[in-house]
């Protein structure tokens, strides 16, 4: 049984992909004798691998993901997205895995295509509470080294870390020739900063406090955030990574529907 997702691999299969020059160690069974007869050169026949897709869903579980302004925290929202995506993948007979990361990889479910596995992943997501500081880059690098076989990497995070380092982590996946999708989850209050009165803002990860008059900072905050998002957008585009910013006010089902439709068109 094979999944409906196209695998990034080219290898042994039934659907011819292309030719490659023979190198020492290649299986002689895959030599294309007809080409040899015509050109007197050794070529190996390559086929489109239509084996199961392995999707790794990386969910950020740092303390900043616990921020909520409308009842749904960014973590909750990320869980919904992860669950939905995992379900879609497994339902299409592909394999889905889950990684929860904060400062480091907190939990890891290797890709499987069984519903039991899906349930286990959902239990883990529900069980886990966002805490600790973020070190997204370390987690990404760790996963990039951990995953041997190329697959689809879906990172669901608020990316509240050093953008340069995070981009390097994402680029690491690309170096390993993974297909990478970044779902940048942000709360509506983070995006619009609707605060009016003077207040002390406390960082959810470091605990650092700062007293400000939000209305005076709103414009500058907007510019900073815009620059932050723009940086990711540009870096992801340069690394051929699919990047999407999501407001948690958007229903996850609506988002998933729209996003998957768009992916379908892109294919």
């Amino acid at each position: 049984m094979t999944g409906s997702h196209r695998s990034p691999y080219k290898g042994l299969s039934t659907e011819f992909a292309d030719h490659r020059q023979y190198v020492k160690g290649d299986d002689l069974k895959r030599l294309d004798w007809r080409v040899y007869a015509r050109t007197e050169r050794y070529y190996i026949k390559r086929y489109e691998e239509s084996t199961n897709l392995k999707a790794y869903i990386l969910v950020d579980s740092s303390a900043s993901m616990a921020y909520r302004s409308n009842g749904v925290s960014k973590y909750d929202y990320a869980c919904h997205l992860a669950a939905g995506l995992a379900y879609v993948v497994i339902k299409q007979a592909d394999c889905a895995g889950l990684v929860l990361f904060g400062e480091k990889i907190e939990d890891y479910f290797p890709p499987r295509s069984s519903l039991t596995h899906l349930r286990a992943m959902l239990d883990a997501l529900a069980r886990y509470k966002p805490q600790k500081k973020t070190n997204t880059a370390a987690a990404l690098h760790g996963m990039a080294e951990l995953i041997k076989r190329r697959g689809l990497i879906i990172v669901i995070s608020d990316l509240m870390d050093d953008p340069e380092q995070v981009v390097k982590g994402l680029a690491h996946f690309r170096q390993k020739r993974h297909d990478v999708v970044v779902l940048h989850v942000l709360d509506d209050h983070e995006l619009n900063f609707p605060f009016e009165k003077v207040a002390t803002f406390r960082d959810m990860e470091s605990g650092e406090k700062i007293r400000i008059a939000p209305k005076d900072l709103k414009e500058d905050y907007g510019k900073e955030l815009e620059a932050f998002i723009a940086h990711y957008k540009r870096a992801c585009y340069e690394n051929n990574i699919d990047y999407v910013t999501i407001n948690t006010r958007t229903p996850h089902a609506t988002f998933l529907s729209a996003y998957l439709s768009r992916r379908e068109k892109v294919r």
């Binding site: 995006l191 619009n192 207040a199 803002f201 900072l217 500058d220 905050y221 907007g222 910013t245 729209a258």
Partner: protein, 750 residues
Amino acid sequence: MFGLTPLAPWFLWGLAAVSVPVVIHMLQSPTAKIIDFPCIRFLKACQKKAVRRTRLKNILLMLLRMAIIALIAFGMAKPQRFEEQTDVLPDAPVSMVIVLDNSYSMGYVDKGRSRFEQAREAAIGLLGTLKPGDEVALLLMNEQCEPLLPEFTADHERAKAALHGAKLSVLGTNADPALREAIRLAARAGTAAHAAETRNPKSEIRNEEKQGQEKQRRRLEIHLLTDLQASAWEPVLKSGYLKNVDTKATICVTSFGRKGSANCFVESVGVAGTGPEQCSVTAQVWAVGAGSPGGVATLSVNDKPVVQETLAVRPGAPTPVTLTTRLGPSGTYRCVLSIQEDALPVDDQHFFTVKVGERSKVLVVDGDPSAIGPLAETFYLGNALNPGGAAGAEGPAPVEARIVAAAEFPAIKLDDFRTVVLCNVAALDGADLVKLEGFLREGGCVWIFLGAKANAERYNQWVFLPITLTQPVGDASKKQTFEFGETREGHALFKTGLDLRSARFWLCWGSDRASVKRDAAILQSFSNGQPALVEGAFGKGKVLLFTSTADADWSNFPLRRAFLPWVHQVVYYLSGADVRGSSFRLKEPVRFQALSTHYKERIVVTDPAGKRIVLPPPQLKGGYAECEFRETDAPGLYQVAADPAFSNSGGFGVNLNVQESVITMEDPDKIAAAAPSGLLKFVEGPKRDVVEEVKKSREGQDYWPLIFKLALLVFVIESLFGNLVSRAAKPGGLKLPLFDVLRRRNPGVS
């Protein structure tokens, strides 16, 4: 403060409330709730910039609030501003100098009333603003400053009577002396009030210090009521007097003039004889201002209009208008050239006299006659005297000449002739000489041309010869020539300025300059230093000696173009047969001159008002009797009783100095720029009531309504600014393209 005086100064204590916003600002410490937030890194990044901006906004808000409180407190103190002099109170006594322009341009009629009348009424109105104890001085302004009330007086009725008695002058304007006098008077303010005080026995003990304080507290006002003629202010602007003037007085210039006022006037008149007893009068007519007045120019002779000419005048340039008339027999004619009366009638007339001389009979005695015309001694002279030959259409020539040979002279009766011309006559002896002397005694004139035949020895025996002859001088070979040289300045013969430079002489009779007789004078010399034309007197008559020939033997003068007018000029001079106009400007001296033998009795001038003025005995200078008449103070025709030989003897006309007729208003800004700021105040007389303006300036202007309005404005600004500061920066937040896609696909979902 700022020249404002608070009427309720205790409210100024309210200014202390300005500190309230400062205290509130200092105590401002908002209680802040704690919000857990993931994106604190962004807040930290923009905190520094925002804190600085917030502080600035808060300070601005605080300042606006302080300004509101200060303005309300200041407004409640009811500040008033007293214009010009801030150190005097509204009830301070006033010292007022009124300068009334009575130049003739103030006679310009606007809406049925002259500007002078309007100004005088305004001046009387200004007197009405004075309270008992206030003092006033009055000056009239024309070309000079004429004091009407030269010292301050507290008697306002006297001042009013003086103003009623003020009359328009016929002079131009010069604001400079009047301004200087007014400022000098203002410096002496308080003298009348002090005099009134000292007359009161109760206040005799006032000490000098108190007087000084009183003087300092007085409100000093100088009011110039004028039409703001540009020509009047030119000397003021040129002198720069106002720039450095040191006075506490306020100068209020009220202008009764209007820009673009039209005026038409006669600038000058030229008279020329165009035939016997006939003259043409050419008037230069000017127009200024808007509109192009035309009309009719009328020449009146002896009070009767004799000729009219229509004219159309272009503004800004003189238009010549020529009127020709036949005057009649010899005598002096009183003439007035008038144009259609306009808003300023005084300059629409020009007065002058025309003197027509008697038709002259001239006897020319040829000492060297010839059967061949051009060879005769008198060939050129005879042609010059009768240029047209027989009588023309215009009537007989003004000069009737008869030429006889010297041999015929004994048989000629001289009673019919006014002038005898001797041309190269060798000598006259016995009865001929006695006859000629008798002719001169009776008032006849003799003109002598010399020549090769003239016998100097015999000539020098003639009692009427004005100079002693010596011998012919020059180069008969014509290699060295000489020309006319110096002339006697101011002599009637040289007024027309004939150009005689082309004449070349190679011979003339020399004469001894030291031998010039007492009643004689050298009128013209040759360039070699020898006298050319010598005038002398004998009896009632005149003798004129020309030391060269009448023909072309000794010079080329008879062949030159200037010879003919020169001959006519001399004959007219000798016989008085020409037509001459005579007119002068106001204040211009009129000179009477004649050979001293003609002075018999004192010259009497009758002015246009009928006043007889007997001139002092004339001074005798170089054989001439000269005196001047300086009282040309009124325009019009002046009659003169004097020997006809005197210049201007028949009478003369006196006319305005028409510079004042060019009605051009000076720009008030230009005058204000030439004075220290605030010294001059301008009121447009025709539009605004100067009396009301003065009352308002003394009463002071309430500023508190303006201050309250300002406070309200600041309040509105503070509200808007506060609202702007507290408003959220930008509604809607970030725009993400994906959300737009989602919103479009799911319209119900926010």
